[in-house]
C-alpha cells in the first residue's frame, strides 16, 4: 500500500552547481519506519522534500504505493509532512490546524470533529483545541503538527527532525511517545534526524547519508555493529567506533597486523596481502581492559578517565592512536597508567585504509 520507492534521484541547487542528492535509490516497505540519518547538510531534508513533492528532482523517479508520483503535486501524493519548524498555522486555533486538511477535502462537520478529537486524543492535546499556537509550548506545537498529519490517515508520514527543537529532557520523553504512537498507527514513515541515538532507538531500518549519498541501509543493530564505511562507524555510537591504522604482516608464518610498534596476531582472510594498509575498527564496549598483562592483550597508556555514572570511559593510546575503552565503573585506573586491552575478536571490523569501505566479514577474521 504505502511503499515508497526512490529510483536514481538527483537534485541540484544553485543552477546545477551543488548536487544535494546524488543518485539516491531507496525502498521503504509498507508500514516501515525508515530513519534518514546523517550530519547536517547531507541532504536529508532535500530527499524528504522530494518525496513530499516540494522539490522536483532533476533526474530519477519516485513511487508511492506503486504509483509514479514524480510529477504529482504534494496534495495528490497521499503524504503528510511534519516540518522541522512544525509550520503550525498561527492564525488558526489548534482544532482548525488539525482540521485543515479535512476541511480541504470538504468532509462533513461531524466527521471533522470526530477525527480531530481522535487525533488530538492520540497526541494528548485535547485540552488545547481552542488555543492558538502562540499560546502553546514547543512540545505542544510539535504534537499539533503530528496530529495535523496523522488525522489525514496518510499512506506515508514524513517527519523532518520533529524532536530537534525540544530541550533534552522533553526530547527523551517525546521520542518514546512518538515511537509508541507510530507503532499504533502503522503508517509508512520516513523520519529525518541527525541524532544517531534517535535513529537507533526508533527506526525499523536506518538509511545513513553522507554528502548527498546513501552509504548504508540496514536495521539499527547491523548499522551499529557492521558499519558499511568508516564514516558510518564514526558517525554512529557514543563514543564512535575506534579505528586503528595497521599493516598486514606475516609473523612466523601466521598473519598478523602491526599498529605502530604493536603486533596483533590475527587470522586474516587469504586475500589480504602482506604490506597492505588496513583500518581496524572496534567499539569501546568490545574492548576488555585489565591491569594485568597477558599474551593476547595489547598494552596502552591511559590518557583520560571519564566516569559516566554507569561505566568508565577511558581514552587510551595504542601506539600513537588514541582509542576509547569502556570499563566497569570501579575499574582501578589513573591517567598515565599502562593497561592491557583484549579486543573481542568477533567484534573487530576491517576497513580499506584508502576507501574506508568495510571488508565483508569472512569467517576467519578474528584477532588472536
Amino acid at each position: 500500500m504505502g511503499e515508497i520507492r526512490i529510483e536514481g534521484v538527483w537534485k541540484y541547487f544553485n543552477k546545477g552547481k551543488v548536487a544535494a542528492l546524488k543518485d539516491i535509490s531507496l525502498t521503504v516497505e509498507d508500514r516501515e519506519f525508515m530513519v534518514l540519518l546523517g550530519p547536517s547538510g547531507c541532504g536529508k531534508t532535500t530527499l524528504l522534500r522530494c518525496i513530499a513533492g516540494l522539490e522536483y528532482p532533476e533526474r530519477g523517479r519516485i513511487f508511492i504505493g506503486g504509483r509514479d508520483v514524480t510529477d504529482a503535486p504534494p496534495r495528490s501524493r497521499g503524504i503528510a509532512m511534519v516540518f522541522q519548524s512544525y509550520a503550525v498555522f498561527p492564525h488558526l486555533n489548534v482544532f482548525e490546524n488539525i482540521a485543515f486538511g479535512l476541511r480541504m477535502q470538504k468532509r462533513p462537520n461531524e466527521e471533522v470533529t470526530r477525527r480531530v478529537n481522535q487525533a488530538a486524543g492520540l497526541m494528548r492535546i485535547e485540552k488545547f483545541l481552542e488555543r492558538y499556537p502562540a499560546q502553546l509550548s514547543g512540545g505542544q506545537r510539535q504534537r499539533v503538527a503530528v496530529a495535523r498529519g496523522l488525522v489525514m490517515e496518510p499512506q506515508v508520514l514524513l517527519m523532518d527532525e520533529p524532536l530537534s527543537n525540544l530541550d533534552a529532557l522533553l526530547r527523551l520523553q517525546a521520542r518514546a511517545e512518538l515511537k509508541r504512537l507510530l507503532q499504533e498507527v502503522e503508517t509508512t514513515t520516513v523520519y529525518v534526524t541527525h541524532d544517531q541515538i534517535e535513529a537507533l532507538s526508533m527506526g525499523d531500518r536506518i538509511a545513513v547519508m553522507e554528502i548527498g549519498e546513501i552509504v548504508q541501509v540496514d536495521v539499527p543493530k547491523e548499522v551499529y555493529e557492521n558499519p558499511a564505511t568508516l564514516f558510518v562507524g564514526g558517525f554512529i555510537g557514543t563514543p564512535p567506533m575506534n579505528f586503528m591504522r595497521g599493516t598486514v604482516k606475516s609473523v612466523n608464518g601466521a598473519s598478523a597486523i602491526t599498529i605502530g610498534d604493536q603486533v596483533i596476531h590475527a587470522a586474516l582472510p587469504a586475500h589480504f596481502q602482506t604490506g597492505q594498509d588496513l583500518l581496524m575498527g572496534i567499539r569501546a564496549e568490545n574492548i576488555e581492559a585489565s591491569t594485568q598483562s597477558s599474551p593476547d592483550a595489547v598494552p596502552a597508556r591511559v590518557l583520560v578517565v571519564e566516569p559516566l555514572g554507569s561505566h568508565l570511559l577511558l581514552t587510551a593510546q595504542v601506539g600513537d592512536t588514541p582509542i576509547k575503552v569502556q570499563t566497569r565503573i570501579d575499574f582501578p585506573v589513573v591517567p598515565d597508567q599502562t593497561i592491557y586491552l583484549k579486543l573481542e575478536s568477533n567484534q573487530v571490523r576491517w576497513f580499506d585504509a584508502e576507501t574506508g569501505v568495510r571488508f565483508e566479514s569472512g569467517e576467519k577474521m578474528s584477532v588472536v
Binding site: G53, L54, P73, P74, A87, F89, P90, F100, M104
Partner: protein, 299 residues
Amino acid sequence: MSAQTNAMRTPLANAEEMPFNAAANKPTLAKTITRLLLYAAAITISLFFLVPIYLIAISAFSPQQAIFAYPKALIPQTLSADTMLFFWNARGVQSALVNSVLVGILALIFSLLVGAPAGYALARFLFRGRDSYKMLILTTRAFPIVILSIPLAVNYIQWNLYDTLWGVAFAHTAMALPTTILVTSSIFIGVSRELEEAAQTLGCNRAQAFIKVALPLALPGLAAAAIFTFVLSWNETFAATILTQRNRTLPALVLAQIADVGAPLPFRYAGGFFLIAPSLIYIFFMRKYLLGMWGQVVK
C-alpha cells in the same frame, strides 16, 4: 537583597571607589549629552511639523473673526464649528470629497491588485533580474511627476481618461506602487514559506495555499499598505490638478480655489485641516507597524 548590598557598600564606595566611579562616569556623561542632543533634535523636528499643524487646527476650530485677528492667540479663546461648516458648505467641496474618497479607494484596490502579487513574487521566487527589478521599482520614485505630467495629460486626453476619476486613480496607483510592492514583499518575507508548503501537503494547490495561509497572515500588513495608498492619494495634489478640470479631488479643489479665486482664510484653514486629518490619524495608529515594516525594507 541588592538594595541592601548597595546600601552597605555606599560608604565604601564613597571612600575608596571614588577613582573608579569618576572613570565610570565619563562614558555615561558622554552618553547623557548624546541623548540630550538627540532629544533636542527630535523636539526641533517635531516642532517644525507640529506648529503649523497646530496653528491650522486651532484656526479651523475658531470663529471667523478670530482667524482674521492679529496677532493670533496661541490658545484658542472660543471654539466654534463655524469655520469648518463654512468650508463644508462651500461650492464643490462635498462632491470633491466624494471624488477624493472614490479615487482613494480605487487607487487602493488597484495598487493592491498589482502590488501585492509583485511583492509576493519578490518575496518568494528567485527569478532572473530580481535585483535589477527591485532597483527599477525604486528609481521610478526618483522620476518627478512634473516632467511626466504634460505627456501624461496628452495621453489621457487620447485615451478618454482625462478629467475622470479613473484617470486620477491610475496615476495615484502608479505613484503608490513602488512603496506597495516593497512593503508587501517585506510582509510576505515575514510569512514563512513552510507554512504555505504545509498547506500544500494538506490538500491545497499553490493558489489555495496562498489564499488560506499567506493572505490571512499578511492581512494586517496589507491593510497598512492599503491605507498608505489611500492617504497618498488623499494628499496628492499635482497629478490630480493636471489631470482633471471639473472632477476635482479635494486637494486639487482647494489648491484651485486658492490659486484661482484667492479663497478666504477660513476656507484655507478648514480645508488644510480637513486634508491633514486622515494622515495624522493613520500615522498615529500605524506608526509602530510602519516603523517595523520599513525597518525591514531598509535592511
